[in-house]
Symmetry: C2
Subunit: 167 residues, 2 copies
DNA sequence: AGCTGATTTGCAAATGGTTTGCGTTGACTT
DNA sequence: AAGTCAACGCAAACCATTTGCAAATCAGCT
């Protein structure tokens, strides 16, 4: 699953957050504001859709940030609640910056052919998790939900018999 | 994420399917009915919850079925629509036998502490995917949905201050 | 500004799940 | 019974991710 970052339909929410605000959050949690850290956060700011570690690494090619450093930082940032991890079922972690304060809960609709991604605001009905938790005696219930399908362009290509991968 | 198969609350749907019926499905699609294949299907029959390749391999220790053979067969079976793959976000594939004919669509509620799994019948509201597809010009929209939380036992253990992992 | 201790980084090696190349075996057709 | 090709076992390759360790860097303090 490859995929670029530039089918932008609107500016990413995240980029509205200045880098300084992000580093401030680091300081709050007494985390050091290092070069690699800032570079990673800056890459995340510019992407509205989930980014893989490899993509971050590639984006930082000029600065030459180590992959291990990226992996370690994503863990740290996730533990701090600054980024959220998404899984599209291909075994590759994808990350998105979480906007401070506001409810950033959302899901994605991914084209299985060309990997185009659409952010989805819709979610499960209100109270769904609560009911589920109650029914099965669970607490702290959360969910992972992602949608997959063929985007407009790809489904057209498929139906007109153009070159395509077997499903 | 470890986890046994034996918190059975009811007999797995799948085991109701005799092995002979499963091999018949192989024959239909002109797939060879080999020893390893039957052994794998038999393991799947006995498990109501998703099983990892490693677990299948372990269950077949006596017969000594190669791991690569298991991986290859799961692919084949998935392509044939005989098994379904689930992802719990830990990068490990889990498989469940799909009952012939009947709608076997379901999700899971997984305890993040002890890995206990509950099968969930509830799903998104009727028409949800259709609406989503229409709104974004997609076709063939499907979804992956899994729930995570603390099971009864584990959340009790946590609140009484017993030994626990930091969240 | 310089010092110091703890965090963080880079590099290289190790993990762990999954895939693949290849020669051999064995299931099914004729 | 013989021939053919899918399927198998084994070993090596892949790829995302993790980890050990010594050197570099950051933050607070003097």
């Amino acid at each position: 699953m490859k995929g670029g970052c530039c089918q932008h339909q609107h500016l990413p929410r995240a980029i509205q957050q200045p880098l300084s605000e992000l580093t401030a959050r680091l300081k709050e949690k007494s985390r050091k504001i290092t070069g690699p850290r800032q570079a990673i956060l800056d890459v995340l700011r510019r992407h509205q859709h989930p980014v893989t570690n490899k993509e971050i690494h590639a984006a930082l090619a000029s600065e030459g940030c180590d992959l291990a450093t990226i992996y370690r930082n994503m863990h740290t940032l996730a533990a701090m609640g600054m980024v959220q991890r998404f899984d599209f079922g291909d075994g590759i972690a994808r990350w998105e910056l979480i906007a401070e304060g506001e409810d950033s809960h959302h899901h994605h609709l991914v084209c299985t052919q060309c990997s185009m991604i659409v952010e989805i605001e819709d979610c499960l009905p209100e109270g769904f998790e609560k009911a589920l938790a109650a029914r099965h005696g669970f607490t702290n219930v959360t969910h992972k939900l992602e949608f997959f399908g063929l985007c407009n362009r790809c489904s057209r290509a498929a139906s007109t018999g153009a070159t395509m991968t077997v499903p």
